[in-house]
Subunit: 479 residues, 2 copies
Amino acid sequence: MGKLDIPKSNFGRWWNAVLLEADIVDVRTPTKGANVLMPNGYEIWEAIKANLNQRFKKTHHKNAYFPLFIPEEFLLLEEEHFEGFVPEVAWVTHVGDKKLNKKFALRPTSETIMYYMYALWIRSHKDLPLKINQWCNIIRWDTKETQALLRDREFQWSEAHTCHATAEEAVEQVEESMEIYSGVFDDLCLSYLQFKRPPHDTFPGAVYSIAYDAPLPEGKCLQIGTTHNLGQGFSRVFNINFQKEDGSTGAVYQTCYGMSTRVIAAIVAMHGDDKGLIIPPYVAPTQVVIVPILFRKKNEEEVTQACLEIEEQLTKANYRVYLDDRDRYTAGWKFNEHEMRGVPLRIEVGPKDIENNQCLFVRRDSGEKISIKREDLLAEVDNVLHDIDTEMRNRTKKLLEDSIHEAVTFEELVETYKKHKGFVKTNWCGDEDCAQQIKDKLSAEVRGVRVDIEKETLFGPCVVCEKEAKDVVYIGAAY
Amino acid sequence: MGKLDIPKSNFGRWWNAVLLEADIVDVRTPTKGANVLMPNGYEIWEAIKANLNQRFKKTHHKNAYFPLFIPEEFLLLEEEHFEGFVPEVAWVTHVGDKKLNKKFALRPTSETIMYYMYALWIRSHKDLPLKINQWCNIIRWDTKETQALLRDREFQWSEAHTCHATAEEAVEQVEESMEIYSGVFDDLCLSYLQFKRPPHDTFPGAVYSIAYDAPLPEGKCLQIGTTHNLGQGFSRVFNINFQKEDGSTGAVYQTCYGMSTRVIAAIVAMHGDDKGLIIPPYVAPTQVVIVPILFRKKNEEEVTQACLEIEEQLTKANYRVYLDDRDRYTAGWKFNEHEMRGVPLRIEVGPKDIENNQCLFVRRDSGEKISIKREDLLAEVDNVLHDIDTEMRNRTKKLLEDSIHEAVTFEELVETYKKHKGFVKTNWCGDEDCAQQIKDKLSAEVRGVRVDIEKETLFGPCVVCEKEAKDVVYIGAAY
């Protein structure tokens, strides 16, 4: 296990190093942008999946799996929807040495193939609401620069797609999805802003889009989830009609929402430090690692025995524990490895600890070392993990607060954004031209109006045209 | 919820009907052979995944995810391996409207892309054994007839790939994999034969292949899992070398093993009946469904209350329970639906039951109805589920036994196979020509030598050439 040798302040280089050393992603594939999600990264993804699946189950979502392939004609049927995706679509044109009569796109998202099936499944109001989620790989062959977990050509995601009898129920579903996503992100100790995107940045085919933006160390913001109210745009094209209770028929109202392995990126980027990852305790695949310290064979048997007892005690109390008793590595090597991988709490037991009937806690977040009496162990594990969780939340809350600045005039906006990056809060008239001028000047966009707090009070005219402003919005650059 | 109207004896038509009605697979996609795995099917798949993942965890396998795309040159590098796959390989040739400089295959299996990475990861004996599993979608674009779950162009699977320091450890790993797979299949109440495939039917690039064949109602056998001892064939091509403890270097020894959604096919085909599916109790997503019987509003409140209490009692005891209190369906409709979906046990509570302080158990496997005193409920659920499990195992054991016949002469083989299909046990010299003559005559193959029992005693000369036989083998037709 190597050390990083690159401080997090050098974010670009730290990123690739930490992903490889912490066993998250290996980009050295022969398929640029389609990377390996390595065992530690996959375990974190499985923890995120389990968390989301549990919430989906409680809210009566069902999982299913739809084809990877999208017929070419679907892209023409939904031209508006696919316009943005088309340059990135990968096409299957041949099988063996034979050319196919019609080519197939690899799914850049699954609205069309799913809604084609929904039209077969939905007949009556009794079939509604329909709430289906899919876990799958997604292909968006970005021809520009790729960046592991942030801009991948192949990535894993969850996409949920729902159908409802009324527009009101669709709005309620959007709200349910926001609660679900906030719950997941909260368990991951992430902090983020929740925006309603401006009309010109709404998902193609949607009525409106909600997105979750997390501030990353480079000063850019990462969209870690989105929810769309699709209205009847797709259901009219795909003929998803149903018979209402009164006997009349109509098209369903739809919503969809997704989150991807970008959430792992947010965990790595927001929580990580110069030593590697820090994984939030309540989702960490390994919450506690126990390392026996064997020194000149002193008390060797007692140390081993104590470690086994602690492992058993914590396992019984439902903690996810790993007793690292591998012979072939030194204790120091193990410390580095588990720090790199972000295990929240390390417990060391050495010969002296046996004599004093204690052990040593080492917190991953602060590096703090605490001697703990053996009889207090269980209560202290609970305390410390809880503390780490709180501390991690506080840190990302502060990161988020520190990433927000304000500007009233265009000059201030330019100056503030160039100086601080992150989010600049300002006033906007709602005109796309004004948004475009900001983009041209700063390569940053109007992220939208916040929906996680009450409507904010205007504090000036439009930052660009100086006409009356409509909304307080946040400017930031996206990955 | 429709009824099937097609008896299982009409297997071909029953198959498609039961898959759709039981919410397992919908084949009505615009992408022939790439179907929808529907919510009930997906839940069964998740149960299989959880079962296998748990066994993998205990045996120190790690999950990871590798790219969908395989560079063209890998197919040339491993020509022998890919020869069989090439006619079925789907090629990505374009992105957007641009032709790619080099085309990519969609993985028909992942040896090459995984082993390319393994060569980067393995340096020393300390890195061994390496045991990695991948859950992913697989593309094999069969241009012939497709059949849901049996012959799909896109399907889900698990593929594990291991590396070891010695040939002996690879053999042990093959054995570990066989134990793991048998454990999963056993929990699913499946019965099957375990074969070492003949050399001419060994996985391309492998030293030998072990396969698990289950007899299906049509008289064909379904390969539900395979394990391969790969020796050093791949590691030499991909340069997966390591430094040994003595300082010398060498290529690793490898194994791989996989099981796919074909296991769902085996569950449906082996356990299903004229009413639909029967899901083995220990893996069933819903083990017990509770249906309130409301009749002319009599005792309505008490019935509802009793159902809620039973739900709570069973949930607390860790059963997977569904209280079907949906207003919009009749009790009869619900009975059909849950029978179709194969829920092992139904508990009905009606007005009379309240008066007698009892409820009615209805077993899915036998249809048997049993009145149960409320105070005996928990113990009886345990008993009945256990009984259903035993009964389901006995049934498939009998199916398997009944599928095996014997033949000494070629004439007997032809007659017996044509009459009974399934497996015909006979003697074989080991010559591929003799196997080919059987195939030409019967469209059935030498499945191999059984490895789940002691080596069987020869009971005649080779069934084809009448020269001295080498092995007792089984003849059968594959899907």
